[in-house]
Amino acid sequence: MRGRIKFDVMNAQELELMKNRVEDLLSIRGIEVDHPELVAELEAGGAEVNGHNVKFSKALIKKALASVPAEFTLKSPSGERDLKFPNPTGDFYVRTNTGAMNYLDVKNDSHYITLDEVAEWTQLINSMENIDYCTLPSTSGEEVPVDAIDVYTLAQVLKHSKKHIWIQPYETDNVQQLINIAAAAVGGHDALRKNPIVSFISCGVPVLTWKRMDAEVLYRCAKAGVPVQPCSLPTAGANTPVTAQGTALVACAEVMAMIIMIQLIGPGTPVIATTLLFSMDMMTTYTLQSNTEITMARLICMQLFEQGYNIRAHSYGTGTDSLIIDEQNFIERTSLIHMMAMSDASVLGGAGQLETAKTISPLQLIIDNEIFGTAHRLRQGLAVDDETLAFKELMDGDDKAGFILSEHTMRHFTEPHRPRLFNRDGMAKWEQQGKKTLLDLAMERYEELLKAPVKVQLKDEQIKAIDEALTVAHKALVK
């Protein structure tokens, strides 16, 4: 969706070229898929198959894209935060980091994530007014069986989340179990199709290759009617071209391939095109999230899907390559969100993440809630009309005493965005109140939010159903 202020990084000719090149890759080079059942159904649906290689003609691409639903809703377990797509206000939705394995706690200790911290994290997300849905962290294998980390984490998040949940599976066999656990929470598979409180992530392996597990996500979700946010995670210079544009092309082609596969297997399954681009630092070889060119490449991807195909698109809105909550962190995450807020994106992600998405931090989550508040305001832009110009008041000239008591001020004074945790006092009062920094105030909010014990959000029978499904999953998965 588009706000009033728009960043179009491609002109019309470039957008058309990009669309053509995406479709050229899928129709001429094709993709590699290691999933016989899926490939067989794609062939039956009209794809050209040669072993693992699958090609989609441009006519088939057009047919598949025609069944992408124009409108859909990602439901929330509480029913309090259902997410309609397209967002009726033109705004974007926000999600938290996915897949982090480290937790930087408020005592500044970084460690593998515990199951209790998953519950704490989920409870915090419930309280963040500018964060719309949550994603699964990666619980430590010291806490839960290694073969079933994702299913145990999902069960924990399901019990505590008021908001929609995005699931990242780790093993092929786990995919169906994850669907089963989510279905248990809402009363069965038909209920889950009607009330999708979860959606899944599926990723290709650049370039244009799907191993069995990710193909399984596409296959099972399409069959179950569970929404998918098909995702490409390329790293420029490592597994995709070093140019940000070339990496954007690969990412868009991979996501487009997944959308086509999902629509051919399960027409009408909701999808959100998710391009999470990275680049490799050519001196250290570290994977970077905050490279400037790659940020612009994300804008290319958002523009391609939203403008070029009218498909809802999703990318990073915040995050950093900094390892800690320092100055680099804030420069990177705010410069990123300012660009992405003015892109076409329908979803922006990464709330709470540090260290190129490997670490999550409750304090950063609370601060990101503030940052996203500002970003939402940016997306709205400023309407220009006689009322917002205060034209009548200015023409009347009755402003000798200033505007503080004017009717116009009364009508509009609550409109300016006012971040809850930002300092808006003068020096004297700030010193008097203990010279609190943003981090101090985030800490205070953390303590306030967690005064109440972490609590489950579901009814007893739902908890029982989840636990029963978890037991079944454990038996099936844990060797």
Partner: protein, 210 residues
């Protein structure tokens, strides 16, 4: 400029297109393989390595320099009395079972090769049995295992336990790395070393085989 200096410069520039002809020219001038290697090719790769350590050049510079050097070595290899002189040690690398990520592991292999090590790359999703078989077959000085997921990092532990069970743990140094891996994990599972990135992996490997 001497022809040896020209070879050094070609390695530094990563000029793999012209180095074969220049190396052949050196051979034709009567220089021995050892003189060409020690006086022309090796100084180039060593200098690039030093510059890389000082953050003065990028990884592709190192890789192109290594490619240029290898092109030169191909010319002098038949003239060497001891064919093994061009590598300093052998390493087996792979991404552990269940893990399909291979960018980091590929970089490790490239950087190790650039550092003069022979690398046997087992690929990704490598089972414990495959690691054991490769160690028995190739007898490397080092085995390097990558894991990019919290679910697969435990496979590193499984492989180390299997090495002990097979009675070959003392024959090989174990290096581990990957996104969720740190020194504490390496210590916990009994690995010999943890490499935070590809350059460090190559540096550690060189130190081990030295």
């Amino acid at each position: 400029m001497s022809i040896l200096q020209e070879l050094t410069d070609l390695v530094i520039a990563g000029n793999y297109m012209n180095i074969k002809a220049k190396t052949q020219e050196a051979v034709d001038q009567g220089l021995s393989a050892k003189e060409i290697l020690d006086g022309g090719l090796m100084p180039g790769i060593n200098l690039i390595g030093e510059r890389f350590a000082r953050n003065e050049v990028f990884v592709p510079n190192v890789l192109m320099a290594a490619k240029a050097m290898n092109e030169g070595v191909e010319i002098i290899k038949p003239l060497m009395l001891d064919g093994s002189v061009t590598t300093i040690g052998k390493v087996v690398v792979g991404t552990v079972k269940g893990d399909l990520h291979d960018i980091g592991k590929n970089l490790v292999a490239l950087m190790m090769r650039s550092a003069g090590l022979e690398v046997i790359d087992l690929g990704s999703d490598v089972s414990t049995e495959k690691f054991i078989a490769a160690i028995k077959e190739h007898k490397p000085a080092i085995i390097g295992m990558a894991a990019l997921l919290t679910t697969t990092m435990y496979e590193q532990k499984n492989v180390i336990e299997a090495l002990q069970k097979e009675g070959i743990r003392d024959q090989v140094k174990v290096m581990v790395g990957g996104a969720p891996i740190n020194q504490a994990w390496a210590d916990k599972i009994g690995a010999d070393c943890f490499a935070a990135d590809a350059a460090e992996a190559a540096r550690l490997a060189k130190a081990i085989v030295a």
